[in-house]
Symmetry: C3
Subunit: 205 residues, 3 copies
Amino acid sequence: MLLSILYIIGITAEAMTGALAAGKRHMDWFGVMLVASATAIGGGTVRDILLGHYPLGWVAHPQYLVITCVAGLLTTVLGKWVVRFHKIFIILDAIGLIVFSIIGCQVAITMGLSPIICVVAAVVTGVFGGLLRDMITRRKPMVLHKELYASVSFLAGIMYITMLHFNVPADITTLVTLAVGFSLRMAAVFFSWSLPVFKFEEAKA
Amino acid sequence: MLLSILYIIGITAEAMTGALAAGKRHMDWFGVMLVASATAIGGGTVRDILLGHYPLGWVAHPQYLVITCVAGLLTTVLGKWVVRFHKIFIILDAIGLIVFSIIGCQVAITMGLSPIICVVAAVVTGVFGGLLRDMITRRKPMVLHKELYASVSFLAGIMYITMLHFNVPADITTLVTLAVGFSLRMAAVFFSWSLPVFKFEEAKA
Amino acid sequence: MLLSILYIIGITAEAMTGALAAGKRHMDWFGVMLVASATAIGGGTVRDILLGHYPLGWVAHPQYLVITCVAGLLTTVLGKWVVRFHKIFIILDAIGLIVFSIIGCQVAITMGLSPIICVVAAVVTGVFGGLLRDMITRRKPMVLHKELYASVSFLAGIMYITMLHFNVPADITTLVTLAVGFSLRMAAVFFSWSLPVFKFEEAKA
C-alpha cells in the first residue's frame, strides 16, 4: 500500500529532523531517541489520546518506534549529511505532512466522528509532532510562525473528506489529496506564503 | 440552563486571553486559534484524559471548538478593545473559573469517583487551560504565582461536593458555589490575596 | 509487599525534589503541590495514558496524591534539611527509578503487550516524572543530559522481562532487578558514567 510506504518514509524523515533539534541542545542518545520519536509519532499519539483511539499506533506496531529510534541514532552519525541534503528533507517533510493528515482523517472517519473533528484530527496528526519537538527542545514553535504548514494540513483534510463525501473512490481521493497538498506545501515554501501574524504589544502590563 | 450559558461566556473570554498571549509571541492565525482553544477548553481536555472520560467535550460538541477559534480570530481584530475593557475580562475570567470548577466536579461525580478526585477534577478543569496557555507561549505560569486562583477553584470544588453530600438541591448548590466562588476570586484580585510563596535558593548547585 | 513500601518511599522522595524545583522558581503552595505530584506520579500517569490503562493509579488510590502533596508542602518547611541530606536523596531517587521501572513493566505485562512496549513502559514510568518537572519549571531536562538515568531504567526493564521469560519466580526477579538496577545507577552517579552526547551545530541556519 502506497500510504504505508510513504508513512514509513515520513516518520523516518521527521525523526531525523527531531534528532537534529536534540543535537542542537546537546542531548544524549536517549534524548535523541525521545525527541526523534516524539517528532515522528507524537502527532498521531496526541490525536489518538484526544479521540480515545486505543491502542496507540506504535503500541500495536512497536516496529514504528524502532524505526524512529534507529533513524534518530543514525542521525547522530550522519548529521552533516542530513544538513547537506536539507532540500530533500523539505520534500520528505512535505510528504510526511500530507500523509499524516490523511491518516488522521481516516482514523476519525473510522470512529464515525463529525467532519469538523476529522479535519481537526488531520491537523493534530500533521502538526503536533513538530510542536512537541519544539516544546521539548525549548525552541520557538516553528509551525506557529513559518510558512503555511498547519493550513496545508487543514486544507488537505477538508479536501479529503469532501471528496469522500461526494463518493470519489478512496484511492483516487488519497492520490489527489497527496498531489494537491504536496504541491501547495512546496509552493508555500518556495514563495514564502504565510498566514498573517497577530502582533500584540501590551501598552500597560 | 444557566451553567451552559455561563460556560459559553467563560470559554469565549478564556479564548480571548489566550489569543492575546499568542499575539504577544507574534504567532500566526493558526497559532492564535491553537492557543485560544488550549486556554479555553484545555482544562476540560486534560481532566477528561486523566479520568478516561471519553469522548472529550469538544469532540462530542465541535461547536465549542468553533466558538474558541472564532473568538481567537476576532481578538486579532479587537485586541485593543479587549485590553481597554480588561476589567470586564477579569470578571468573565472569574466566572469561567468557577463554572469550569463546577463542571469538573460534576463529571467526576457522574463517574462515581471519590471526593478527593472530584476536587482534583475541579482544580484541573479550572486551572490547566491557563497553564497550557503559558507553557505553549513560554510564559511564567501565572496560576502558580499570582493571587488566589487554583485555591479558589479548590474551595469551590469542596463547597460543591459538601453541599451535595448534605442533600442541598443541585440548583441551589450550583448557584451558591457560583456566588461564593466568584466573590472570593474578586476579593482575591481586589485585595491581592495570594498563597505563600516557596522561595528556595540552592547554596551549592 | 516490599514493592509497595519502596513505591511510597520513592514517590515521597521524588515529590520532595519536585518541590525544591518549584521553590527555585518561587512558586506558591499550589505550584509546589502541582510540581511535587507531577514529579512523583507523572511518569505513571503518562504511561497509563499512552497505554490506555484506566483508571490511573492515583485516581483509583487518591492517597498517593495526598502523600505527594503533603511531601511537597513539608519540603517548603524542611527545604534546607533536604539539601543537607541530599546524598540520601540520591539513594532514594535511585530506588524510586528502579521501582517505577519495575511497576511500569508489570502494568504492560498485565495488559499483554509486546516486550518492546514493556521496556518502553518501564522507561516512561521511570523518566517522565523528572521530565515533566523540568518542563513545568522550565529547566534544562536533566534526564536527557546527566549520568545514565533513562538507560538504567531501560536495562532494568530488559532484565526484568528477560528473567520472567525464563521462568525465574516473580519475587526473585523483582529483588535481583532492584539490586542490579540500584547498583548500576549508584555506580553511574559515582563514576559519572553517561551516554555519549550528540552535539550538532548548524553552519547555516
